[in-house]
């Protein structure tokens, strides 16, 4: 075919432009490590990556939720441990307060019970990041209010919270409720921390009655009424501690699953979007070689014309 001067230049510039574009694309892939950056380059893969990224972001948020819940569960456990220590001492005092003790001894025990009541009230009003842990969903106010007599002795502790237990998503279609209501008189839902008809627990009323019996020296009532009632309170606290431990274990398990899921999603995203560097660099080398050859060949041909041989 006849080749005109113009068609040679056109073809040369077309070839150089094509090779230059290819070089640019491969160089960009090698520099970013990514096979695709915009939807145009691989629409289906882009769609999959965006979906996977959305899923990864959700799972990462689940991880954060789990971390937050674990903090709450841990702080709740500290409070429960404190209550258990109080319950242990109360049970000990109930055993000590028998017919062999003088009225003064019993009054001393009553004073200690008063202090333990104060301590228990502080524990059940525990807060984490400004949120009361045992108030149900009324977590912006102290759940337990104390009433005292003229002598400053606690005569009643009333519950201001509710029995709701907010559930938080820790995985797709999986929620965990870590907050325990202080009291649950209705007997449905989560067991109350200090009062629940299902277990017969009613810690504060039992402690106040025990204190009153100690002050009045009614040893018989202590033996027949307070000891069994306080035992039920202790059982309830142990139940709450075991529930707390089970929740912690559940959260640990959910965290492990979420961590594995994030890693797996990262791998999937990488497989879809990352460039095979070895292959990319080989292709880049090939293209650079072709580019150099095109430039050298073009320059040589352009240097030659009949004009070089005419006087």
């Amino acid at each position: 075919m006849r080749v005109s001067s113009r068609s040679f230049y056109h073809q040369f510039s077309d070839q150089v432009r094509t090779l230059s574009n290819r070089q640019n694309r491969l160089q960009s892939q090698a520099a970013s490590g990514q096979r695709i950056q915009t939807a145009e380059e691989d629409p289906a893969a882009m769609r999959r990556i965006l979906d996977l990224q959305a899923e990864a972001t959700r799972v990462q948020q689940h991880q954060k939720n789990i971390d937050g819940l674990k903090e709450k569960v841990s702080v709740s456990y500290d409070a429960l441990r404190g209550l258990k220590t109080i319950s242990d001492r109360v049970t000990e005092l109930a055993v000590l307060a028998d017919g062999t003790k003088s009225p003064d001894d019993l009054k001393l025990y009553a004073t200690e019970i008063g202090q333990l009541l104060e301590q228990a009230t502080t524990l059940v009003n525990s807060r984490h990041k400004g949120e009361y842990l045992f108030a149900g969903t009324r977590s912006d106010q102290a759940p337990f209010q104390i009433q005292r007599n003229a002598e400053g002795r606690i005569t009643n502790v009333t519950y201001q919270g509710n029995t709701d237990a907010p559930a938080v998503e820790v995985a797709e279609d999986m929620t965990v409720s870590v907050l325990v209501p202080g009291e649950n008189p209705g007997g449905a839902g989560s067991r109350g921390l200090v009062s629940d008809p299902r277990s017969g627990a009613d810690l504060f009323r039992h402690l106040i009655r025990f204190q009153n019996n100690l002050l009045s020296g009614d040893v018989n009532a202590i033996i027949t009424q307070d000891r069994p009632a306080l035992a039920k309170d202790e059982e309830n606290i142990i139940f709450q501690m075991s529930t707390n431990a089970a929740t912690q274990s559940r959260l640990d398990s959910a965290k492990n699953i979420a961590t594995s899921r994030v890693a797996a999603l990262g791998n999937l995203i990488s497989r879809e979007g990352n460039a095979d560097l070895a292959e990319t660099l080989v292709q880049l080398n090939q293209t650079q070689t072709a580019y150099q050859a095109a430039l050298q060949g073009g320059a040589r041909v352009m240097q030659l014309s009949l004009l070089n041989y005419l006087r």
Binding site: S5, I36, E40, T137, R138, E169, L310
Partner: protein, 464 residues
């Protein structure tokens, strides 16, 4: 033939060779002119004279200058240019639309660094976070900040897409003006070619080249049907309407607002809507009314669905201060979407609780966060982020498809141009050869005249 006749023969030969040099020079001068088709001088032996020796040649004369051009290839190139521009216009618009979405993957971090996808994910993860700590003002701030970023991104995307639509309509108007200029120019050239060629002075090669160049420019704008008459005049139709008949321009193009409110093309005087099938004008119309209209609609639907679904849940909730009934988002489409200013001023008013007086209640926050995955009928039973990801993918698919077709089309155009250049393109080497050829012939003709002159001197010296 006597000596004077021979002298004339030499003079005619000089003229013929000089014409050859002139044409070669013209070709060389136009070597880089893309509209130019190389020319050749047509030499013909002069009239034969009857002599006593029998019929005797009387030399050469240049009878015509012809241009080397294949009309069939020209028509093919016109068609292919129209298709190329049609695809290129779509490609340009879709590339701008893709840039408007700003969805660029960056896998080096935890996710995309830009784009609506990131904002949607951030908004719903912020709601997730707030559902875990509904009383936390920090989490509430994060929700409102993510909502603000999401709304702003939708506003910007909506604005960009509208600006793109406006810019396409302006292009339509500018290109119609240019098409009318070209039509007028072609009619004028038709007339000038007619005048030149009717006078019998040969073919108006350069004017015809210029007209072909104008036709090709017009073919890039709009698909044209050209009919060439034996007298060299052209008739031209666009969308089945004759706009040019030989030297008379019958009509022109104009942009009008169609029933659907969109600018389209029709004839100016006849006001006949044109059914265009190629060229950048139709490319602009098709991409504007097709993929870009769908894109704008999808982004607007996404924004309105987001607002209505979020508000429907949010309005049933209660803020930390017991407030209820407020919408989180206002606006009905991507450009008008805003975050309720009252909530931004006081994040405690964000209604995340399912019952009044229960600050720690997270029922509404959970329901809002679950919207991320909820399949919504308004979005073709897809979730918000899934619908958006589909939109990005669909746009990418449209762009990839048009790019691929456009690349193929360029290859076709390139091959046709190479083919045409093989016929019409100037070759420096050839022209230099021709230059030498005619120069040598010119020198030889001059030598003939010198020889005849010497012969005449010889004859005249016989008398002395």
């Amino acid at each position: 033939m006597d000596l004077f006749g021979l002298l004339h023969l030499g003079a005619r030969s000089l003229q013929a060779q000089r014409a050859g040099v002139e044409v070669a020079g013209h070709n060389l001068a136009n070597v880089n002119n893309p509209a130019y088709a190389r020319q050749r001088v047509t030499l013909q032996t002069s009239t034969t004279i009857n002599s006593t020796l029998g019929p005797q040649g009387s030399g050469v004369e240049a009878v015509a200058i012809e241009r080397l051009r294949n009309t069939l290839v020209d028509r093919q190139i016109e068609n292919e240019l129209g298709m190329g521009s049609f695809l290129e216009a779509q490609r340009n618009a879709l590339e701008q639309a893709q840039a408007s979405l700003g969805e660029v993957l960056d896998l080096s971090g935890s996710g995309t660094q830009s784009g609506l996808s990131k904002n949607l994910n951030r908004f719903f993860t912020a709601l997730q976070g707030a559902s875990a700590s509904p009383t936390s003002l920090t989490e509430r701030h994060l929700v409102l900040s993510a909502a603000e970023e999401l709304a702003t991104h939708l506003n910007i995307t909506g604005d960009r897409l509208q600006a793109l639509d406006k810019s396409l309509n302006e292009s339509l108007s500018n290109e119609v003006d240019r098409a009318n200029e070209l039509l007028e120019g072609i009619a004028t050239l038709n007339s000038r070619i007619g005048h030149v060629e009717l006078s019998g002075n040969g073919t108006a090669n350069d004017l015809r080249d210029l007209r072909q160049s104008r036709l090709e420019e017009l073919a890039k704008l709009v698909k044209i049907d050209v009919t060439e008459r034996p007298n060299g005049h052209l008739s031209l139709a666009i969308g089945g309407q004759n706009l040019l008949s030989e030297t008379a321009q019958l009509d022109a193009l104009e942009v009008y607002t169609a029933d659907d409110g969109q600018p389209r093309i029709r004839t100016r005087d006849g006001q006949t809507p044109l059914d265009l099938t190629g060229g950048s004008l139709q490319g602009i119309i098709e991409v504007r009314d097709g993929p870009l209209a769908r894109l704008r609609n999808q982004i607007d639907t996404l924004a309105s669905t987001l607002a209505s679904e979020i508000n429907a849940i949010h309005q049933t909730g209660f803020g930390l201060d017991g407030s209820t009934g407020a919408a989180l988002f206002t606006g009905t489409d991507a450009r008008s979407l805003r975050v309720n200013a009252e909530l931004q001023e006081d994040p405690a008013k964000l209604q995340l609780s399912g019952s009044t007086g229960s600050a720690g209640n997270n029922q509404i926050a959970v329901r809002l966060a679950q919207l991320a995955e909820k399949k919504l009928p308004e979005l073709g039973n897809q979730s918000l982020s899934s619908r958006y990801n589909s939109t990005v993918s669909e746009l990418g698919q449209a762009l990839a498809s048009v790019t691929s077709k456009s690349d193929d089309q360029r290859a076709v155009e390139r091959m046709l141009r190479i083919h045409r250049d093989s016929i019409s393109g100037v070759s420096l080497d050839e022209e230099m050869s021709d230059l030498m050829k005619f120069q040598k012939a010119y020198e030889a003709s001059a030598r003939l005249i010198t020889t005849v002159d010497e012969m005449l001197d010889t004859v005249l010296s016989l008398k002395r």
